[in-house]
């Protein structure tokens, strides 16, 4: 098992290198140039020439690529953002936790609602519950994230204003609510600039995690409130897809002969469904869950833009419009790593769920 995981991880290295090269080239194929986006009206030819020389953008593209790859592979350095003139890694430490919290909560909602809804639909096939769930799922799949996001913001922030159901339309926390990092609360001395400090910063930027472990309840509840609408918007499509695949997979399995055997043993229907059928139905479901993480990242770009979250998606969107090459490249690779990791986890889950799948 361990050997398998190591081998799979090694195999992802060429994939990630490929992604680096491809995003590098695609970024440079976008019309427009970083200088003009960064300097705007002040972008005279002379200023741009100086700007490009400073950023190394006057070199031929293959040379730029070589320099970039050497920087990453030998020094582990993603370079500096052209737009913000800060190291990309610092940007990641700020932005990634926001997206992680959003993505994980959206995925959890999609799984925790989607799978039970699919099971219920399959068990009560052709009933009102089934029809309602599947009509709901179809509507859910058909709703674009940006439209749903705007509608949710309208209903909960404007229409329900001054009611207890009001929810904030934008931002990760209300202005003025400030989360104290856990290492400051606990007076941990961490040398700045070290890897440890970076990890600590990363963790403390997970708003819910940080406020939960330090007991900053006002921050926690504010963080939850701000998270609800984006999470609902982002989780709707994966939820609907998971519900549909769960239903069809369960229907397949419920007709299987071993399910009849389980009933013939005298098991109650609940146990037949949840023990004997569900475990067999899980394979297609987790496959789809793995694939949906891709949709989730794509949706995060839109959701974060609508709800003014400064996460990875929003940063990537800004970087693309601003031709901020290093940010585009680094963030794309980070998303790719997330995608590869989740699908590796899915493959490992296969082996745990189905003994017929041998991993060696």
């Amino acid at each position: 098992m361990l050997q398998y995981i190591v081998r799979r991880l090694l195999l992802t290295i060429p994939v990630l290198l490929g992604i680096l090269v491809v995003t590098f080239l695609i970024a440079r194929a976008i019309p427009g140039d970083p200088c003009r986006s960064a300097l705007g009206e002040r972008a005279t030819d002379a200023a741009c020439e100086a700007f490009n020389r400073r950023m190394g953008l006057d070199q031929p593209v293959p040379v730029q690529l070589a320099i970039y790859m050497r920087q990453i592979l030998l020094e582990g350095d993603f370079g500096d953002s052209i737009r913000y003139s800060r190291p990309v890694s610092l940007l990641l430490i700020e932005r990634l936790p926001v997206t992680l919290e959003l993505g994980v909560s959206a995925l959890l909602i999609a799984i925790l609602v989607g799978i039970p809804a699919g099971i219920l639909s399959a068990v009560r096939r052709n009933s009102k519950v089934d029809v309602a769930a599947m009509v709901g799922a179809n509507i859910g799949v058909s709703m674009p994230v940006y439209w749903l996001g705007l509608m949710l913001a309208y209903v909960f922030s404007i229409y329900l204003k001054d009611t207890p159901l009001w929810l904030p339309p934008s931002g990760r926390l209300t202005a003025g609510v400030i989360a104290t990092p856990f290492y400051r609360v606990w007076d941990l001395s961490i040398a700045p600039g070290t890897v440890g400090a970076q990890v600590a910063d990363f963790l403390s930027n997970l708003v819910l995690f940080n406020s939960l472990i330090t007991g900053q309840w006002n921050v926690f509840s504010d963080g939850i409130k701000h998270l609800i609408l984006p999470t609902v918007a982002l989780s709707t499509i994966p939820l609907a897809i998971i519900a549909r695949i769960t239903r069809s997979s369960m229907l397949d399995v419920l007709g299987a002969e071993y399910v009849r055997t389980a009933r013939a043993k005298g098991l109650r229907e609940r146990a037949v469904v949840l023990k004997h059928a569900l475990r067999n139905a899980l394979l297609p479901i987790i496959t789809v869950v793995g694939l949906q993480t891709g949709t989730l990242f794509a949706g995060a770009v839109l959701t974060e833009t609508i709800f003014s979250f400064s996460g990875v998606g929003r940063a990537l969107f800004d970087a693309i419009t601003g031709r901020d090459y290093p940010v585009i490249q680094a963030f794309t690779v980070v998303i790719a790593i997330g995608y590869v990791a989740i699908n590796l986890i899915v493959d490992i889950c296969y082996a745990f769920i189905d003994p017929r799948i041998k991993i060696e």
Binding site: G255, A256, E257, Y258, R260, T261, A262, R263, A264, K265, G266, L267, R268, E269, H276, R279, N280, I353, D354, P355, R356
Partner: protein, 360 residues
């Protein structure tokens, strides 16, 4: 398969009167199970009556689609929609199973009546070890510790002839051969010493040599436990080997019923005679095996009259016209030998050509 027929025959003779006098273990009265399909109502089982005595092996024979499996699933109340039991009573020791609540029925399944199926490998759940699946039967019906259940499971595996049961107990179904899987199914079915075992084509999917072993095993276990068996098969060889009494089903109805010896010696119904004629006999040279022309009729929108009429050679031979108008009854020709055929039954103006004084 006919290897053991001789010894078995003598046994059948002694147990021929087995059921008489005692109240029957199982009594099926006027069972009707219909399937409400889009094309119309399919009368899969249409008024079936039979009794099974304690410890008796009762054979149910017929072609594919004659309703024998649906009959057995009806007894377990495991008919899936669109199938539905529309009429009849199924009395297990006098208690009507069709009147029971579902929760009560789950206590009957696996404990009082258990079942084995045609496809042993797909009847076992692929994601659980065979020990887990046997232990489950104990766990459902008895208050028993994990260790005891495990020990009993291993003991059962030993009894059904699984080599090295301690090790095999932790195997998954895909690691077993078909014959071993059927042994496991038998172990599971007999775990709680049910009063009745329903074996639905238990050997059909197995190799000829394995078939003989499984039949021997069933015979031994039945002798040891005195469990009554409903043996469903299209294979008359299997019936000859195991069954005490036999009912022949055709298109959802029982057309002939008697003890096994009598049925093989003096089959009355033209359909039964056709079945007998289609068995290859060892040592007898035949140019061609006899076949019954045609197929089982569609059970949707049946024509009036005898369901076998369109394929019946005797009807043409004797020039009977009533067969296509009126359905004959199941009448008793001699003690314990019933037949449903106009060759033997009197009716307004119809004189049965083969009636020889017997019957009422």
């Amino acid at each position: 398969m006919t290897a053991k027929t001789k010894t078995k025959r003598s046994k059948a003779q002694t147990s021929g009167s087995h059921g008489k006098g005692k109240a029957p273990l199982l009594e099926v009265q006027n069972l009707k199970t219909y399937f409400y399909t889009d094309d119309g109502v399919l009368t899969a089982v249409d008024g079936v009556d039979f009794q099974v005595a304690e410890g008796e092996v009762f054979g149910l024979v017929g072609e594919s689609g004659c309703g024998k499996s649906v009959t057995s699933l009806s007894i377990m109340r495991l008919v899936d929609p669109p199938g539905e039991i529309v009429d009849g009573r199924i009395l297990l020791q006098g208690e009507d199973l069709l009147a029971k609540k579902l929760a009560e029925m789950t206590r009957v399944r696996g404990r009082q009546i258990s079942m084995i199926f045609q496809q042993p490998k797909s009847s076992l759940n692929p994601v659980f070890t065979i020990a887990e699946q046997i232990i489950e039967v104990f766990k459902i019906h008895e208050n028993i510790s994990d260790e005891e259940a495990k020990a009993s499971a291993i003991e059962l595996l030993r009894r059904v002839g699984i080599p090295d049961p301690e090790r095999k107990a932790n195997a998954y179904p895909h690691e077993l051969s078909g014959g071993q899987a059927q042994r496991v199914m038998i172990a599971m079915a007999l775990a709680l010493r049910p009063k009745l075992l329903i074996a639905d084509e238990p050997t059909t999917a197995l190799d000829a040599t394995i078939q003989a072993q499984i039949l021997d095993l069933m015979q031994d276990l039945r002798d040891a436990t005195d469990t009554a068996v409903i043996l469903i098969t299209h294979d008359l060889g299997v019936i000859a080997e195991l069954a005490d009494r036999v009912a022949v089903m055709y298109a959802g109805k029982i057309v002939e019923e008697s003890d096994t010896i009598t049925l093989f010696d003096r089959p009355l119904h033209p359909y039964t005679q056709g079945l007998m004629g289609s068995i290859p006999v060892l040592g007898e040279a035949k140019e061609r095996l006899e076949v019954i022309p045609g197929n089982v009729p569609s059970l949707i929108n049946l024509k009036p009259g005898c369901r076998f009429a369109s394929r019946c050679a005797a009807r043409q031979e004797y020039g009977l016209e009533i067969c296509e108008r009126v359905e004959p009854d199941l009448i008793e020709m001699e003690a314990g030998h019933k037949v449903r055929c106009w060759l033997y039954q009197e009716y307004e103006g119809h004189t049965p050509p083969l009636r020889k004084g017997g019957g009422r």
